[in-house]
């Protein structure tokens, strides 16, 4: 019953319980809360946040715009949608390592899956280079009493090889997937807990544009549109076409 939880455990403990059916200790819930803070960064250039900002400028409701932003982050390029692939990678890599593959072999195999490029899930970023959030997260993890587990240790070794060979680093997905795999979560469970990961940043971007005149957020002029499709053609009438 709600009264067994209200006032006794944190909101994030309840959120995780509802998502995976297990009541976790508070440190893990605190780690998740910090993660949600890190991923709810209200920069309106991020795709999901920009959708929230567009909702504000068009006077959608805060709920509609925030939910739209949350849906947008269900993506294979960023946001919570990438956790499924991030887990798949680190679990595959650990299975290979346990069979005796070297970290360099694992990196080479993964690059081969991606056309020879080191652009695989958990490493590199689409626009920025490096991930400034990771150093902070290692501090948070340590403070909460979580040692570096088997998946995360391997993820860090992979980063060393990528840095040496390609000048690429681990990103937040790589860290989160490995850390949560060490905590015994499955990919689907991690995805479920993170369903509304970006929500607060989207709301912030909504509020910012909602408080300004409508359509004043990055307005476009007609000549800002660079049409690259087929040239204009006459429209035939049905009997001709």
């Amino acid at each position: 019953m709600n009264k067994d939880l209200m006032g006794k455990v944190s909101f994030f403990q309840v959120m995780i319980l509802n998502a995976i059916g297990r009541l976790v200790e508070k440190p893990l819930a605190d780690w998740f809360e910090a993660m949600h803070v890190g991923l709810s960064w209200p920069d309106a250039r991020i795709w999901c946040n920009q959708i929230g900002a567009l909702g504000g400028t068009m006077r959608s409701t805060v709920v509609a715009a925030t939910v739209a932003g949350v849906l947008a982050a269900d993506s294979r390029a960023y946001g919570q949608g990438t956790l499924l692939e991030g887990f798949a990678f680190i679990e595959r890599a650990l299975a290979e390592a346990r069979k005796g593959a070297s970290v360099r072999d694992i990196v080479a195999q993964e690059c081969a899956r991606h056309g020879g490029k080191p652009k695989f899930m958990g490493y590199s970023r689409p626009i920025a280079k490096g991930d400034e959030r990771l150093a902070e997260f290692f501090k948070i993890q340590e403070r909460l009493g979580f040692p570096v587990g088997e998946h995360l240790a391997l993820a860090l070794d992979i980063e060393k090889v990528l840095l040496e060979e390609f000048d690429e680093t681990m990103n937040f997905n790589g860290y989160v997937s490995a850390f949560l795999a060490d905590q015994g979560l499955t990919a689907q469970e991690a995805y479920q807990v993170c369903a509304v990961l970006v929500t607060s940043g989207v709301t912030a971007c909504y509020v910012d544009t909602f408080e300004r005149p409508p359509e004043s957020f990055l307005p476009m002029r007609c000549d800002d549109i660079d049409y690259q499709g087929p040239p204009s053609r006459p429209v035939p009438s049905p009997e001709v076409g």
């Binding site: 567009l54 959608s60 957020f217 007609c222």
Partner: protein, 227 residues
């Protein structure tokens, strides 16, 4: 399927009766007029962001329709526009215009929509919905709300305002007998194809295909900055 067009069946679904030929033509022309809000519209841009951001394609429409639900140029003002047209349509359009402008104050910044469905866009008359309304008003099925709205838009023109797309939709839907509460959803539905097309157009483009202000051009305001 063999006896009636898609538009007729759509009308039947919401009105529980088949349209006559004039009504059918009116709804079809409105659908064509609304089928694509264009790439400058915030809801279209939301669809394009979902596409380029590699969002699950099943989410493109719900995302863009959520933004299209807004009260500024979106479905959120269609019901109010239908109620306005229903009430004000009994009076002289010029008098209603004069009264609204006398009773309300133009905002210091941004556009002015003194009533749902009508106003300015980027500081002047948005000619495209006006052209759609003029075209529809010449059809056999043109009804009272649409014709009244055209006269009202004419009165507003002297003040740099006119029809907005939700207003045109509201007038036609009112004339076709749709209930005001149905207006928002039908307006979203009629705009959905263009939103989806623009979103899908971006799904295979690189993440950087849409303008992304660089850090040098990205400012975080502080208290006291001018917006």
């Amino acid at each position: 399927m063999e006896k009636r067009s898609f538009v007729d069946v759509l009308f039947l679904l919401f009105r529980a009766e088949l349209p006559n030929a004039d009504q059918s033509q009116m709804l079809e022309r409105l659908m064509i007029g609304l089928i694509n809000p264009g790439p400058r519209h915030p809801a279209t841009r939301a669809a394009m962001h979902a596409g380029v951001g590699k969002t699950n394609p099943a989410h493109i429409l719900p995302i863009s329709l959520s933004i299209m639900g807004g009260t500024h140029l979106g479905a959120g003002c269609v019901e109010d526009a239908m109620r306005f047209l229903r009430q004000a349509g009994k009076r002289d359009p010029q008098s209603v215009c004069d009264e609204l402008l006398r009773e309300q104050q133009r905002p210091a910044q941004g556009d002015w929509h003194p009533v749902a469905g009508f106003g300015s866009r980027f500081g002047s008359v948005d000619e495209i919905p006006g052209k759609l309304a003029d075209h529809l008003s010449r059809l056999q099925g043109a009804g009272k709300a649409l014709l009244w709205g055209c006269a009202f838009a004419k009165a507003l023109r002297a003040h740099g305002m006119g029809w907005l797309f939700p207003g045109v939709a509201a007038a036609v839907l009112a004339d076709l007998g749709f209930q005001p509460r149905a207006g928002a959803g039908i307006f979203q539905y009629l705009q959905a194809p263009g939103l989806l097309a623009h979103g899908l157009e971006m799904v295979n483009k690189p993440l950087t295909a849409l303008p992304f202000p660089s850090d040098d051009n990205y400012f975080i305001e502080e208290d006291g900055d001018d917006c």
